[in-house]
Symmetry: C2
Subunit: 242 residues, 2 copies
């Protein structure tokens, strides 16, 4: 199958899909859709993904798919030779990974996007920072990290559900948590420091998927520096009030 991945390495779900392909030797063409330039809103890209988001994939020039969790499930089952630990065929094991992925949407994902946007990125999109929305998102994110610590990581192995090797849920959730690199260091520490098991799991997941994890994150860390400079230049002091 001929695979195209439409992605922006600054986007956490994009990175998860790119890392999965690299880690599993899936050949693909990466088509960069630069969110900062609004390329996801072009008519050409809307024909690929009507939701105007990244990532999306195209297979053999005809089958198109969006939503990173659906893409990861598809890649893990449609391509030959993918190691079983990513998304096991066993219905009980697979169901638990699906449960973690579904849980993620309204917890870690919603919290992290809310924190990063409302404390940091909003001025880049011409919006004011929103401390109240940021505080609500931080509360949700912290409660969700506590659940990872107390429930999802309670087993013997280093990965979610006590597994000894990472699944697509570990990869996807860890890419989401990496996005907190974009917020100010003090805030990042306040959010992550209470959760030692979470921090170890992020590091274990990163190490288990090397060199691909770091390779795909290089552009993200470059973007982080560019964002810092852009925000310093823009004077990011404007804040939404009441």
């Amino acid at each position: 199958m001929k695979l195209k991945v439409f992605a922006d390495r600054g986007s956490q779900p994009s990175r998860a899909v790119l890392i999965f392909c690299k880690a599993n030797g899936i050949e693909f063409e990466e088509v960069q859709i630069q969110l900062a330039k609004g390329e996801h809103k072009s008519p050409e890209y809307e024909a690929i993904n009507p939701m105007k988001q990244v990532p999306a994939i195209e297979v053999d020039g005809k089958f198109r798919l969006f939503e990173s969790h659906a893409i990861l499930r598809f890649l893990a089952t449609a391509f030959p030779g993918i190691a079983e630990h990513w998304y096991p065929a066993d219905v009980f094991k697979r169901a638990q990974i699906d449960s973690a992925l579904d849980w993620h949407h309204s917890t870690i994902r919603r919290g992290s996007v809310g924190v990063v946007l409302n404390t940091t990125l909003a001025p880049l999109f011409g919006q004011p920072l929103d401390p109240q929305a940021a505080a609500e998102a931080e509360k949700l994110l912290s409660a969700s990290l506590a659940k990872i610590e107390s429930f999802w990581l309670k087993g013997d192995g280093p990965f979610l559900l006590g597994n000894s090797e990472p699944s697509i849920a570990d990869l996807r959730l860890v890419c989401e948590i990496m996005q907190l690199e974009l917020v100010d260091e003090k805030l990042q520490k306040r959010i992550l420091d209470p959760y030692a098991k979470v921090r170890k799991w992020v590091e274990d997941t990163r190490k288990a998927i090397q060199p691909h994890f770091d390779e795909i994150h290089v552009a993200f860390f470059q973007m982080k520096e560019m964002i810092k400079k852009a925000l310093a230049g823009a004077g990011s002091g404007e804040t939404k009030t009441g």
Copy 2:
């Protein structure tokens, strides 16, 4: 397999799971977890679902699973004889249903919960109504319904993705949209009236899964009447300001 379903028929994801079991002749014991009485917060239920939400399932007294999408995927693949249309084995067809389910989390689901809570149910939980949160949720919900109309229902068949029979995505999303029955009739009309294809699809899905769809919704419509009375009694006028 011996299946227990922990559910509240007032909860839209609970109803989707119950209807799926009934429609597919899966034998199960329904354990009612009454949200209004706070039964989902009991230590006994926390042992079943640490996230303290419904629905959850237990199989053979040991395997436990939460998150309605994960439960629907599991039931459709772990039980024998489930008709293919619910969750096809074909990786391409399955991926598109996964895509619809994943898309749902941050669109229809988030919008409908926000509208119903902030326009109607909040006083029952001792919270003020929040017109700003309600307006934001309505905007998201309307934009998402427009996407169902223009994209998910653009095919030839009456169901999502142009299918001729319903999938677990049709069932789950339609149960979510049914929750709008709880809001005042004028608001419900304002939200749904612009989307004729959506309204037809809701009705087609309901008809395709009879008598089970209506049977499971009886308790929901009874609850609707009780909520109306409770809100009238409580004097639901309090509104959050700035």
